[in-house]
Amino acid sequence: MTQDGDQRGQGIPGGDDAGSASGTVFPGPARAGGDDLVQLIDASGVRHPHGHYDDLVADVDGAALQKLYEDMVVVRRIDAEATALQRQGELALWPPLLGQEAAQIGSGRALRSDDFVFSSYRENAVAYCRGVDLADILRVWRGNASSGWDPYTINMATPQVIIGAQTLHATGYAMGIINDGADAVAVTYFGDGATSQGDVNEAMVFAASYQAPVVFFCQNNHWAISEPVGLQAHVPIARRAPGFGIPSVRVDGNDVLACLAVTREALARARSGGGPTFIEAVTYRMGPHTTADDPTRYRDANELEDWAARDPLARLATLLDSLGLLEADYSDSVKAKADAVAAELREGCLSMAEPVPSDVFRHVYSAPNAELDRQQDHYERYLASFAQAPQEGPR
């Protein structure tokens, strides 16, 4: 049985046929969420006009499309390089985003610098959009730190590992935005599996209660490690939000332009006091959950083939080609950029400063702590004792 079967006929995108969907947004809580997908570029790379969303991406000209394509190529290359680094023993683990480039780049490029992102651990492309130092993406996975960057430098919290917990943080942050009288927006990324968590449901309750400027960006990538989305959701996930009083929209998550459009609309709503929006970006995790996972144990190879035919990069390349925007000079420059980024990533990984033992005691508290200081003192003296007996080491 394919994943579509597990979805109990909920109309997961079927390539071209998804393009026939009317793709309307659900304008408010009064209207129950429907199952139609917003799609502007279909799986075969054909741009379809859209009565509502075309206006939201009217500024996206050929050059802008080329930039979106470049972004997706680069983040796919980052992903491949990081996977290689893991296989070479330089990273302990890596969570690939292969297949989800459009969802992350389309939404990530819609954000303003003063918006704040609360993501899970797979949003490396969003971090790229936020301007993260490349090596910082790897810091956690190399085991050199518990997080890669100072969240305030790029206005993006470091990856959240507890499934769904970050949705509440985004909602609280958005409540703070209200108190500040600002027009920034908190954007939270999570997956289909996270929507089963109480935290995500409570976040929607709070967001609706306080009309918080938060965008819930759910990447339904069909798999929560080995568990298919059909195990967690009997109806399309986007349908849940209107029950909380939150307008929702389902978008083709492999269509970068559609993802940009729906995210822009949600951000505009939040900035103008219209409260939260729930976006379900229907995409597919083409790789394993992490490099420690083996998806051949639980999913059909045919399903992967089906989704490979809806690849987010391939369809945009086809569209660019049809517009005469995929000339050799441009393609070469994209490839050169990806190669340069990959080289920078690798260099940053290999040259990363190693932590020292006393670092384990740092930053537990912001103020001195006598008991912890005592433990650190004992441990440092213990370590120093080996220096006096160099033949012996910790066993």
Binding site: A145, A157, T171, G176, A186, D199, F206, R362, Y365
Partner: protein
Amino acid sequence: MSTMTFGRAINAGLRRAMDEDPKVVLIGEDIGKLGGVFRITDGLQKDFGPHRVLDSPLAEAGIMGTAVGMAYRGYRPVVEIQFDGFIYPAFDQIVCQVAKLHYRTQGAVRMPITIRVPFGGGIGSPEHHSESPEAYFTHTSGLRVVSVSNPQDAYTMIQQAIASDDPVLYFEPKRRYHVKGEVDEGIDPTVSDMGAARVVTEGTDVTLVTYGPLVPTARDAAIAAADDGLSLEVIDLRSLAPIDFATVESSVRKTGRLVVTHEAARSGGLGAEIAASITERCFDYLEHAPVRVTGFDIPYPYSKLEFHHLPDLDRILDGVDRVMRRPNSLSGLDVEGAAQ
């Protein structure tokens, strides 16, 4: 200096903290118009508005998780958990986020969140309204945990907790809310240390360590023991994480005997930590093994039996007798100096 109840002292401390820092926001269930089920936040929403005193949906994880987000944004949230037994839905957010974010982000993100928890028994309530969950939190690195025992400390320490850049669990002994005491509202909360234990009564024979609701009971025990010719030194820990071991240690070096008492269950409790740490640090000064007088290892019982579970004056004195090798409930009345 004015006389006020314990609950009123917390209210006054909250009000002062809100006056002094516009980033202090309160969030919890029923804390707005109602002023909280114990009226601790009485009048604050009226005076500071609904954006600073937020009545929340009934979801503790949601309250805690949104407080984390507000702290990210630069606020100092003060969370009210309505009753001790209702804190568990928020446990994940407290342990995985509130406690760890400063460490996780190498100091970049601070979590100056105060989590107020009415705790402990003795008010005749049904299940989930009388628990002492402090050890779950003292076991969690990254949190500070305090418990207040009198109106003055309640007033001062709520301000210190709010001013702390580290998250603080602030345990309020609900059965003492109506106790009155003198409070100096002019006191500068920055001059004293929330982490310092307080010697309640000085003594020379036994060190009696406790915190929160049992501090008055311990003080009464010291008075009763004095009639019996015993001098107890009562220590109110105030801070449960970190523990001011220096104060306890110097007392035990003087007395040679340690009794710890708390309402919480015994196994893995604060008493175990204090007994172990003091034994490690001043074994050679001890005349007797430390003695714990605690709640039993049972779920909190129904109210007609709760005073069999809660340590009281007599059980504390029985523990004092044990540490003094006097006849006690474990030795049998006719066996002088028997082992426990």
